[in-house]
Structures are given as C-alpha cells and as structure tokens.
Symmetry: C3
Subunit: 344 residues, 3 copies
C-alpha cells in the first residue's frame, strides 16, 4: 500500500522512519536501474512546479532531471515574475495560487531562503500555507529551517559507504569557516535525520553559532528514541576523534536576520563573513581527519574549498561528496514517485 | 476532417462558432480523460514556443503543462533576451525570426501587453506580422486586444455550471476597482465570445472606462446574429439584477497609453490606481449578488480580492474561478491538438 | 561501431573528416525522417544541460528542440544565477560543477562569448576545463573561438544546394558592415570546416579585421591536405568573382577585448560600430552577386539586413539562410545521438 501518496514533505521529521526507509529503498532501486525501473514512467506527461524564491544550482538541476527521468516535466518558475500578493501589495493570494496550481500539476516544490525572508521560520510558514491550500503535495526544495531531500541524499550516501546499518556510527557535523554565509537548513535536516537513524551525532561549532533550540530538542528526542547519542561540542579535537563520517559546512549566526533588517543584506553578509574569518582552525584538514576512524568526508555542496575543507580531503579517497550529490536525484525521484506518481 | 490544422488563433472572433464548439467539445473530452485521450500524444516530441514579452503566471503554467500533457514540450522564451530588431535598433526582423522558428516548432504562442507597447493595437499588429511570416500557427497568449484562450475557458466553465445551452442567460461583465491596472484583453474577449454563444450580455462600468468601439460594434453584431442582447450600463443595480453569471474585473482607461508615453509606466499606473479608487461601490459583494438569479461568480484570475470581489463571494459555493482556471489547460490542449497536432 | 560515444565537440577541427561526414549523414537522415527515425528516442528521459553565459536565440531554441525530438529534455541554465567561483570570489569550482553535472545529465552544452570574457581564448579554456572534469560530452554552443554546430549546419546546407561533393567549389567568406559587433566564432569555424571539405575558400575583409593567426594557419594546412585552396583578399571584386557560395557576416576587430578592458563593453562596441561604418561597400548586393557563378547566399543568422546583405539578396531565390538555420536542429540531433545517445 502506498500511504505516501498525496503527502507533503517539509521536513524528514514529519515522516515516519518506515516512510523514510521506504523512500531510501526506492532511491537505491532507481540508482541501480536508472532509466528502466517499473516506476520510471510514473509521472508520464505530468507537470511538477518548481518555485524558486531563491536561485539554486543542483536543486534545480536534480529536480528537473528527476521529473524528466520519470516521464514528466518540471517547470522552472520564479515568483519574482509572478504577480503574487506580498504584504499590502495587490496580487494573487497563496490560497488562489495554490488552488489553481493544484489543477495543473501533480506536485509543487518550493525553495525559499534567508535573503527572501524577514525572520527565521517565515519560509516554513509559507510552505505550510501552500500545503494548507494545495491539493497536491508540497515538497521543500530547501527553506530556512529544513532541507529534507538533502537529508535523505546524505543518509543514502552513508548507507552506500559506511554500511547499511548506521546505528552507533559516530557522525560529526562540524561548522566550517568561509565567505558563503550559509543557511541552517541542510545542517538542521542533517542532525535531525541522522539522530533518527541511530547514529551518534556530534554537532561541533564555535561559540555563537547556535542553531534553532527546537531542532536541538528534537535531535535529543530522536537520539533517545533510536538508542543513539546527540551532543554539542565546541572543541575540534573532541569532535573529530573517532568519527566515522565528517560533514563540514559553514552556517550563519542567528544575528543574520536582525542585521539584514537593520543594515540590508549585503552588510549583514559582510558581518557574518568577518565573524567567520576569525575561526581559522575550523576547516577540515588531513590533520584533523587523522584523528578519525578513517572517516568518510561529506558535504551537501556547493563546497567552499579551502575554507570548509581542504582540496586534499575533498579530493581524497574517503570523500563521498559527488555520490551524495548524485543521490539528490535518486531520492527526489523516489519522493516524487511515492507522493505524486500515478498508480497503475 | 480537421480544418483547423494550421490555423492561427488571435481572437475567437476569427473562428466560426462551429470551430469554437468543436474546440470546446475536445476540451471537455480532455477534461474527462486527462492523460489517456487518443489525442494525448499528438504533440509527441514536438516543440511549442512561448514568447513572453510580458510575464505571466497561469498562462505560462497552463501552456507549458498543456504541451507536456500532449507529449510535447513548450519552450519558455523571453524576447528581451533575443536580439530582435526594434525600431531603428539593429537586430533580427520578425520575418526572419518567424521563418526560422517555423522550422523548429509546430506552433508559437505570444503574450504582449500594454507595458511592452506604444499604442493600443500594436500588440495585435505584432501578432499579425508573426502570423504573416510563420508557417506554423500563432496563438495569442493574451495581447492588448484579445485573449482567446481565456474566452474559451470562460465559456467552458459556464457550460459546466450554468448549462450546456447558454442562450438567453444573463451574463454581466462588471468593472471592478483595484490597484492592478488590468488589460482590456480578457474583458473584450469575454463579451465577444459570450455574445456569439447567444447570452444576453450586460457590460457595466463607471463612465470613462469605455472599451474599444470596434469591439463594442462586433458585440452588437454578434448578439443580433445569435438572437441575444448586448447592452452597456453604468448602474450597478441594473447590472446585477437577474444575472445568471457575474464576471467582475478591473480594467484601465484608454488614457493609459498616452500617460505612459508622457509620464512613464509607473506614473501612468498611479494615475489609473487613483482614478479606480474613486469608485468604491464597484466591488462584487454578497449584497450585489443577492440581486441576481443566484448567479455564478467568475473571474479570469489572478483575483484582486476585496477590490474586484469580496472573499465571501470569491470563496462562496457559486464561485467557479478555480474551475475556469483549470479550463485554460483543457482548451489550450484542444487548440494545440486541433491546430498543431500530428494526424495519425 | 559508434566511436563518437563520449566525445567532446569544441571545434570541428578536433574530429576526423569521417566523424564529421558520419554526423552529416545522420543529420540528413533526421531531416528526411524528423520524428520517426530509429534513433529518435535515443535520449529517452535523459537530461542535457545548456549553459548560457551569453544569451541566444536560435542556439537555445534549436538545442532544446533537438533534445525534445530525441525524447530527452534540455535544461536552460544561466550561470549568472549559479554560485560559481570566479576569480577570488567564493563559490563552486568548475571541477565540482562538472563532476556533479555529469551525475545528472548525459551531456553539457556551453555558450560563452566576448562580453563574458576578459581575453580572446578564455572561453575556449573554460570549455576545456569543463571537458577535463566532466565525464559526459561537452559541446560548444558557440564560444569565442569556434562554433562547431554552425559549421556543420553550414556544410549540410551547401551539400543540399551546391552538391554533395563540395571539392573545388569557390566559397567566399566576406566581412559585412553593421552594428552588431559579432564574434569570430562562426566565421572561424566556417573557414576551418570548409577548407577541410575541399572547397576553395576565399576570406575577404577590409584591412584591420584579421582573424586568429593560428586559425588561419590551420586553414592553410586543411586546404593543402584536402587539395583545395585558401586565400585572403581585401578586394571585393576579386572575392565575389566566380563564387559558388557567398557567406557575408560582420565581425569585430581584435582590439575589442582591449577596448572592453579599458573603456567597458558599451564603449568598446561603439568603437567597433564606428569603425565598421566606414566600410560602406562591404554589403552583399545584387550587383556584387552578379559577379558570381550564380552563387548561393548564406548566413548563420541572425541576419543584419541591409548592413551585411540587402533584402533583395537575402530574400532572393538563391538564399539558403532558412535552410541553414533549420540544419542547426538536424546536426545537433546527430551530434547528441552519436556522442550521448543510448545504445540499444
């Protein structure tokens, strides 16, 4: 029975572990049989709408390719060219947009990140509003809080390389320096899904880079439920020691939104860049990796080389970054097939 | 016999009532059998070009989905990024563009509205020039004068809800206030096609909002031919009383083009917005609707809620706005199938 | 045996004459059997990425249509909205972008011209870097040095009209005045491929419009190898006399890049436009054509009418410009089928 048909996906946390496992199973099948799987025509001549409030590279490429590989078509839409109501400005309401789009498409993907928002959580609220009015599934293509497709692609990569059963593996989510002022979404999704799959998750960052306390609380609950551990450290040696998987990634501080409101987006970015530059040690090097249990190195991409990680590690034999990037395609095909695909 | 093969569609007025009826019949078939109609692959691997001189929401979504559902692909093209000749500026002529595009595609859709034009009628002339040189059908995706796909979607909606035979139904096209400064195209197409289908059409607007006199003359002739009536009123009570269908919609005055030439587009819009704001009564409310024959409420979308119509009416049980929006897809599939589809 | 599978195409010069002939043979087959050739589904549900660093009309239209006609889908991507590393700016490296894209797509097309570059040859270097890291074929969709798809479409047109064997035909590549400040890519590709196919190639331009000396040297070697001739003249009478095919086209001087660095792109264009305007005779007219051997007139488009060529010649019975434009579709389908298509 396909009980995922019609379901939204705003965060992996909203789905049961069985739902997630089933999605991963299908993603592995699609990987093994890229163009000739029995579900490979399940979007036959169907339309999927991709709404990009913020631009993207691999999210657009992989979603559009996913729809194509399932026999459908993903439309690339930018709300900036749509006469949508915003604040007091006249325009179409989300209620109307979502209702009409549900008549044309079998699903809608939405990407909305910090620079298109006024406060943390507003992107999530927008997706929830679309989900409320749309009669077709809403899938997050990365928003301020979560990035479920990345989380699933990550886990798929760990299962490919570190073993099918991830329970008890030490997973380190480590903050990295750099000038790209990244969103919290990939990192929060990562620690959520990895605690659910029973990994021992260590979140490591310099003081001041705290993530959403509600997400942290969920991670603690997930770990308890799955029989794993979740801990936060601010020490690099402690973080790397004994790790099985290392995921290095920059993220902004919670001050970003306020600074954007006060000083504009460019200045807010500049403040983050200057702050991040002070943490010179926070880069994944061969030396730090030597403390690990010959860990795999992963990253959601795009990689900020020689800031988040050295070339040596990123190009090394334990790097799985390209495999994880490829997995985006497979998991998105699985999500689309299960939530939107036609049932023969 | 498919005598629509190769035909342009710039206005429903250019097609016989039999052609229009046949298109609607096929649209109903596509609605009943969305993905498995015998003609559902009639654009198999064919390309349809969509030219957006002006941006759009549902026109782009529904045309691109229509091509996909027929097994083809619609390319989203913006002439601003094309090196086309404009005025004295060097670039490719419409003659060359239309000839070359006819080699690549089975049809071309064009959208061009007021803000991309210098005078009323220029958009229609541009479509006629494309039609002259292209050897494939040109379909209006809304231009300054007409919007044939919307007109057909409207009539399809009325047939779904008000009855297959529309003769003698009172149809009210009523101007609505609001800040969106809308084109004449949907409204003119509406009164043209509705008079042709034998409805008693009442066009209601505040003094100063006259439409194209040639279109009004055609409506009078259409009504006479079809045995219906066409009248213009400036009184809301008279308009709503006894109506079977109410279509509320803002439109600009004929002064817009001159103001745009003199003061620029933003100032010209501001002038229209201020003028429109004076007509506070011109909104479709539950009170006005109570004068009708339990009328259906329709709108071509995007709806400017609480300006053109109240939420109460727009969300009420007699509102058919989402069905009409959906019909855009079905009628456009029918138009494409009949004018561009392969014949087995 | 398909020994073109996996091959890049940056310039026709990189492929053997047999490879080019085979591509042309398949292009002719696709032309004869547009939608039902046995290879017509060889990109079934596969993705092709189109990277447009510079905008385009027919290149985008014809590549996207080509993918559609082969059962696949071409994604329209603009690197300006991609977080790519440029100079010292943080972002994704070409190494990472090319590696990841190779996981999603069966091939990548890239267009990059003068205004997106700092020096002549930089575009070619960029394509070579993509080719180095991508595991799927890289196809030039026009770059600063070459335009292989245009070159193949040209030759296909000459074979259609001037005869299957082109050896000994006099081909004239003549500079044309005009305000469009064109790239060298189409012209350099043209003289390269035409000397390889054994035509007697005359390159005619006013003093100061020299092309890349390395390309000129390759043309001389090509001519010698093929038993034809290659000559450069600055005299129009000499150029046109006895010609079998005339290809008129504007191009910039080599000073453009320096002027762009010094004065910006608009001023650099202005300098070229003023310089080009001095050569009033350099337009293909009926009078010049009367010196030829009833030559065919060709152009890669978009045509700058009444600057590069008069309407009379361009619309005359010997003009093959639309056929050559159509050929872009057929040769690109052939290139994609042979380098990226699935093998049954």
């Amino acid at each position: 029975m396909n009980d995922l048909k019609g379901r939204d996906l705003l965060c992996t946390q909203d789905w049961s572990i069985e739902d997630l496992q089933r999605t991963l199973d299908l993603a592995f099948e699609f990987k093994a049989n890229r163009y000739d799987h029995p579900l490979n025509n399940c979007l036959d001549r169907r339309t999927f709408f991709m709404f990009f409030y913020n631009p993207s590279v691999r999210t657009r490429q992989s979603f559009e390719a996913a729809a194509t590989e399932l026999g459908g078509h993903a439309q690339f839409l930018e709300p900036k060219s749509m006469r949508l109501k915003t604040g007091k400005k006249a325009g179409e309401t989300i209620q109307d947009a979502a209702n009409v789009m549900s008549r044309y498409a079998v699903g809608i993907g939405i990407r909305i990140l910090e620079t298109a928002l006024e406060y943390y959580g507003q992107g999530h609220e927008l997706l929830q509003e679309y989900a409320k009015y749309a009669s077709v599934p809403i899938v997050s293509m990365a928003h301020d809080k979560f990035h479920p497709c990345q989380g699933l692609a990550d886990v798929m990569g760990y299962k490919m390389h570190a073993g099918k059963d991830l329970k008890g593996k030490k997973f380190v989510q480590v903050w990295g320096k750099g000038a790209l002022v990244r969103s919290w979404c990939s990192v929060q999704e990562s620690i959520l899904i990895n605690t659910r799959f029973g990994m021992d998750v260590t979140l490591a960052y310099p003081p001041g880079y705290d993530l959403d306390p509600e997400v942290i609380k969920m991670c603690e609950e997930n770990a308890e439920m799955a029989g794993g551990r979740f801990e936060i450290v601010h020490d690099l040696e402690e973080a790397y020691t004994g790790a099985d998987i290392v995921y290095s990634r920059n993220w902004m501080t919670s001050a970003f939104y306020d600074n954007m409101a006060k000083h504009g987006v460019e200045k807010a970015k500049q403040i983050e860049i200057e702050r991040a530059a002070k943490h010179d040690d926070w880069i994944t090097t061969k030396e730090w990796m030597s403390l690990t249990n010959d860990a795999f190195f992963t990253h959601c991409g795009p990689v900020d080389r020689n800031a988040e990680v050295t070339d040596e590690v990123c190009d090394g034999s334990r790097s799985i970054v390209y495999d994880v990037a490829e997995n985006r395609l497979h998991v998105q095909k699985a999500i689309m097939a299960l939530t939107m695909g036609k049932i023969e």
